[in-house]
Structures are given as structure tokens and as C-alpha cells.
Amino acid sequence: ACNSTEKKPANTKPAAGGGESKTEEAGTVNIGYTGPLSGPAAFYGERTLNGIKMAAEEINGEGGFEVGGKKFKLNIVSLDDKYLPNEAGANAKRLIQENKTPIIFTPHSGGVFALQVFNQQDKFLIGAYTSEPKVSEVGNELTVRIPPRYDGYLKPFTDYEMEKFGKKIAFLPTASQYGKDWSEKLKAHWEKEGGKVVFNSSIDFAKETDFFTIVTNALKEKPDVLFIGGASEPTAKVAKQARELGFKGGFIVMDQAKVDEMKAVTGSYDLMNGSIGVMPLSESKNSPAIPDFVKKYKEKYGETPGSEAGLNYIGMYIFVEAMKAAGSVDDAEKIQAKMQDGVSNIPDNVRIYQFNKFTGGGFDGELEVAAIEDGKVVPIKVAK
């Protein structure tokens, strides 16, 4: 099988406007994407896709990348799967058959599971944007998990909130699997530290019209801290309504939500004083590459990028670096074997996350934590 075609496939458009005249010497690598681009989860799918596209455009803009002495450009072929696993499976089949994509990105665990049924047989890599641990546990070598593990957050979050507010916590995370896994881990840790979980339930943002009821019930138990999270905007609503109902304690914000996006809903950071969560990309001072990335992304898509865009962006770069190291743009196994090189060789100007290692089928790096104090985002040092 040859995935580097000289001509671009009829039904795909190159993601970047790079000069087409030069493609005579350059090959094209098709990169697949299947995710929700319509329906309720579309906003999420679009953001993940944007990150990938942006990376591809940058690489193409610089004339592509060189593998085995030959120049290649990237072409992102994206298909909508409406968040459904079977559609994701069908899309993947199509991407492999018609576009010969060596890598297929998908931003949901269901899609990953569906692809894992045949990715080893059909030899393609899954760029799995999911933190579902199971995708890495099933022993599927060709699955590359992009987001970092969230376990690292447990300690800093717990320490901070326990010290500042107290030991009673109520759980109100999103009802996704992700939220549930998070809760489980946090619960274990919180209790280990001598804390008490006084209320534990989840909110399904796809079905709930109003959170007053559940927040009332949570606050009835007089918690010191609320654990909230999910998509940023509804999470912000939960925080806001908790404040309206007189909650004075702190928030642990699950890493899916970003405090800067939440601010757009709450209006100011003041309402979120006492929150701890991941450092939003736009506020992070951790890497000199970030402000540049945020600016470019804003120009292109008109909004501040979050980690959905950022992680997929850097993920695309890592894959490219891995291809370079592997000396192949089509052999999934070879590329997989060089993922560590991919991580090590991330160009400095795109290193918006501090990834160091490729272990256990995913990337590992330093975690950045932020708290909100006096209406401002302040970085919190994470003790290793």
C-alpha cells in the first residue's frame, strides 16, 4: 500500500493554501479525522479539528516536511461521525480505502474503540484524543493517546482546596465517562487525605435544562468545596448557580473545563475565586511558544484556543516528527516505534505543552495548574 500519492484525491482539498505548483516533487500524506462535526457535540469536534488543521497548514506553509529525502505535505481529510462509534468505524474504513491515511484522529472514546477493532489489521495509527484509560489498556499498540493523564492533578487540587476551604466536598461533574472516572479517582484521593465526600452525583449537560435543583441538593450537605467540570460553559453555569444559591467555598474544576472559557459565561473571575483547575493555555506562562500560538489561532478561528485545539495541534506535530524519525510516512508500525523521538523532537516554537515522554501509549509531561485568587489567575506550583 502506498499512502503517498502524487496527486491529491478528487474529493479532498488540501488544508493549506500552500503553492500547488510545487507539489510536483512533493508527495502528499493524507491524515484522517473522524469526529462530531454536526449535532450537539459539534463545537467540540470543530475545536479538535482546528488544532490539527492549523498544525498541518503551518507545516505545509514551510514547504512540507522531509522524509527519506523526499518532501511531503499534509492533507487533512475530515469526516463527520456525529459522535457515533459506528459512523466513526465507517469513516475510518473510508479514509483508509480512499485516502490511504496512515493516521486517523478521533476525539472520542467510542470512536477509538470502534477503530481499535480493525486498526491493527488495517495498519493505521489512531490519534486518540481521549483520556479514557481503557483505550491504552487493551494492548492496542497502534493507538496513540494524546491528552495527558489527569491523575497528576489530584494531589495539587486536593491540597489546595483542603487547606483553603475544608474537607467536605460535593461532586457535580459532567455525566460523561470521563467525568465519572475523574470523580472516582478524586474521591479515592480526597478520602485518603482525610476528606469527606458529602454529595456525589453527575450532571448530564445534554439533558439538563437547569442546574438549580441539583446544586440545591448538593449545597444542602454544606460542602466546603465543589467538584465541577465538563464543557467549560455549562460548568461555568453550575459554578454561577452555586454562588447564587449562596455557596462560598472553592471549586475544583475538572481539566476538561478551562477557567478562561468559563469566564466568558460568568463575566468575571471574581465569581470563581477559590477555584483550582488546569492552567488555561492562553494564561500559561510556561512556554514561550504559547502566546504566539494563541495569537495565530485567534486570528484564524476567532476564539481563544483551549486544550482541545492545543493538544491536537501539538499531536499533529509529534506525528510528523515521528514520521521523520521513522523514515516512513505510511508504515504505521514504524511510525509508532518512533513516537518517543516524535515527542523529543517537537520544535521549540510549537512546544506549547511540556511533553517529555511517550509511555503507556500516551504522552507524559509536566502539569500546569492554576488557581483563581482575588479575581486573577495565579499559577500553582506542582510538587513532583
Binding site: 454536526s38 470543530e46 459506528n86 480505502q97 479514557e132 487493551v138
Partner: protein, 347 residues
């Protein structure tokens, strides 16, 4: 006579085509899509049997589809049963639940039945979503095995799976054909046309409706079980209302209450949406209106449109032969004058 021959020819042609289809293409993707359309077709036949022939529109069928899929998934993944035993049991489970749901829901009629089953379908979905101990909740069931081989036949490859699903589809079509062309089929159509009258000529409408309901849920469950072993991962979303809407759309585009409607409708929509993929998220801007227009202009689906066109042509021929003695009615669904009167009386 000509019409029957036509219909039969079309069916035979379709069967032949589907039998050689994998030989015509190397493209696994095409086979994959074809296989999944076959699975949907089976589900659509379930809906067609009930809605098309007894007039009861069930909006719970995605629920039964999911029950079939989850039964198979749970029995294989969690209880480690032999695949075919689990397959059989999943049909039994779907049938039994269908019986239960039928018993309560068939007491309602028309729109009530539709919305009642809509709610029942939603309950099924919620139960799957919430009952984590059994279904793994939103995480979904991973690692559902492919069908184990029967003797020398293995079902590991895309192509062999294709033939397995095709086999079940043909079985369903055969069953449908026989039902529709039997006394039972007439009985169901009688119930669709007027339940009160059917009852007074001695037909136990409840018993008949229940039989059909259970059989139609069985079709949905069969489709679900095949789906589970085909995609090998299932999540609660396969029980969501949008799946029912999809099935319904396939049915109506093809032609409700027709034998070949489910085949035609599913094939067209599934392939069309694959090709509209290039429009990405904006394809619904086209697909939505197209669907609506189709329903307005071809109320009996494509199959209905073709057969109406046929009758018209034949009628024209006859008219030419024997001047204007033939009376052709408009669309058959135009209510006769008698029906509104009845409505007045019964309030």
C-alpha cells in the same frame, strides 16, 4: 400481472447484485457500508411490519435495536457465552421485552401510541445509560466478539461478515414477503384500515397487534445483535431517538407499507449521506429540506412514486384502448367522506 413480474424481477436482480457485490470491489469501505446498510434494513423491516401494515408507528425501535445489541454484548463479553447461544438468547430477550412493552403500549392508538413508544424508547435508552453495573453506562461495551465460525465458515473478514448479514436480511425479506402475502398479512392490513371493523368481524385485534409488535421488535433486536457483532463496540447512543428517526427516514423515503421500500430507502440514504459527507456539517442544510420535500411530493416514498407512475402509465394505455371508462382515483390516502362523519359522532 406485469407489475408482479416487475416486482419479482427487481427483487431477484437485487439479490443477485448483493450476492456478487463483494466480488466487484476490492474496497473494504464499500463492503463495510453495504453491510451496515443491510443491518439497518433489517431494523427498518421491523418498523415497516408494524407501522406499514398495522398502522402503529413505534418510536421505540431504536430501544429494541439497542436491547438486541446489548443483550448480545453483555452475554458474550460479561457472561462469556458462546456467540451463537448469546445471539439466540438476545433475540429471546428482545422478544420478551417486546411482548411486555407491547402489552402496555398497544392499549393506546395513533399519535398516542407513537409518543408513548417514544417515551418507552427513551426509558430504554436511559436505563442503558444509567445502569452501569450491567451496561457499563456511557463507557459502552468493548470487545464484543465477531461471530464464531460455523463448521468451515468463518466470520472474521469483512466479506464473510457481509454474507452473514446478507443471509439474515434475505431471511427477513422472505419472512416479510410470506407474511404480507398471507391471511395474516390481510388481517394486519385490515387492522390498519379500521381497527373497529376488524374487531367486529371477529378478529382479535389485540392478539394480532401483539404478534406483529413482538415480531417487529425481534427484527429490530436481530439488527441490533448483528450490529454489535459487526461494530464490536456499543454505547448507549445506539438506543437514542435519533436512531429511530433514521430508521423511520429510511422507511419513508423508500415507501412505507411496501415490501421493497426498506431496501430502496436505506440504500439510497446511507449512500447519499456518505457522499454528502464532503459537505461536512452543512450537509443537513441540504439533507433536511430534501427529506421534507420528498415527503411532500412523494408521500409514499420512492417505491410508491414508481408504482404510481406505473399505474398511471398502464391506465393511460387502457384509456387509449377504451375511451375514458377507467376511473382512476387520486392518491389512495385521501379519506373518503364517510370517515369525517364517524369522527363527528365519536368526538
Amino acid at each position: 400481472m406485469v407489475k408482479v413480474l416487475n416486482k419479482r424481477n427487481i427483487i431477484i436482480a437485487l439479490i443477485v447484485f448483493s450476492a456478487v457485490f463483494p466480488l466487484l470491489t476490492e474496497n473494504n469501505y464499500l463492503i463495510h457500508i453495504m453491510t451496515s446498510s443491510f443491518i439497518w434494513m433489517i431494523g427498518v423491516y421491523g418498523l415497516n411490519l408494524l407501522a406499514g401494515y398495522t398502522g402503529y408507528l413505534s418510536l421505540a425501535h431504536a430501544g429494541f435495536f439497542a436491547i438486541g445489541a446489548y443483550s448480545l454484548g453483555i452475554l458474550t463479553v460479561k457472561a462469556h457465552l458462546n456467540f451463537w447461544l448469546a445471539f439466540l438468547l438476545s433475540l429471546v430477550i428482545t422478544g420478551l421485552l417486546g411482548l411486555l412493552v407491547g402489552l402496555i403500549s398497544l392499549r393506546t392508538k395513533e399519535h398516542f401510541f407513537a409518543i408513548y413508544t417514544l417515551c418507552l424508547g427513551y426509558i430504554i435508552y436511559l436505563v442503558i445509560d444509567k445502569w452501569e453495573g450491567l451496561t457499563e453506562g456511557v463507557r459502552g461495551l468493548i470487545g464484543i466478539p465477531a461471530p464464531t465460525g460455523i463448521g468451515p465458515i468463518k466470520f472474521e473478514t469483512e466479506v464473510s461478515h457481509y454474507y452473514l448479514v446478507l443471509f439474515f436480511l434475505l431471511l427477513v425479506v422472505l419472512i416479510m414477503y410470506r407474511i404480507v402475502h398471507s391471511l395474516s398479512g390481510r388481517t394486519y392490513i385490515a387492522i390498519r384500515n379500521s381497527e373497529d371493523l376488524a374487531q367486529t368481524i371477529g378478529i382479535s385485534t389485540m392478539k394480532n397487534k401483539l404478534t406483529v409488535f413482538v415480531l417487529s421488535t425481534l427484527f429490530a433486536g436481530l439488527a441490533g445483535a448483528l450490529y454489535a457483532s459487526f461494530v464490536r463496540f456499543i454505547g448507549p447512543d445506539i438506543g437514542s431517538i435519533s436512531i429511530t428517526f433514521d430508521l423511520l427516514t429510511y422507511l419513508l423515503v423508500g415507501g412505507i407499507g411496501t415490501l421493497s421500500g426498506p431496501l430502496v430507502g436505506t440504500l439510497i440514504i446511507v449512500w447519499l449521506s456518505q457522499y454528502l459527507q464532503d459537505f461536512q456539517e452543512n450537509r443537513m442544510l441540504i439533507f433536511g429540506p430534501v427529506l421534507t420535500l420528498l415527503i411532500i411530493f412523494y408521500p409514499r416514498g420512492l417505491v410508491g412514486a414508481v408504482s404510481a407512475w406505473n399505474t398511471k402509465r398502464i391506465a393511460k394505455k387502457e384509456q387509449r384502448l377504451s375511451h375514458n371508462t377507467t376511473r382512476i382515483k387520486g392518491e389512495p390516502f385521501i379519506e373518503s367522506e364517510i370517515i369525517p362523519d364517524k369522527k363527528v359522532k365519536e368526538g
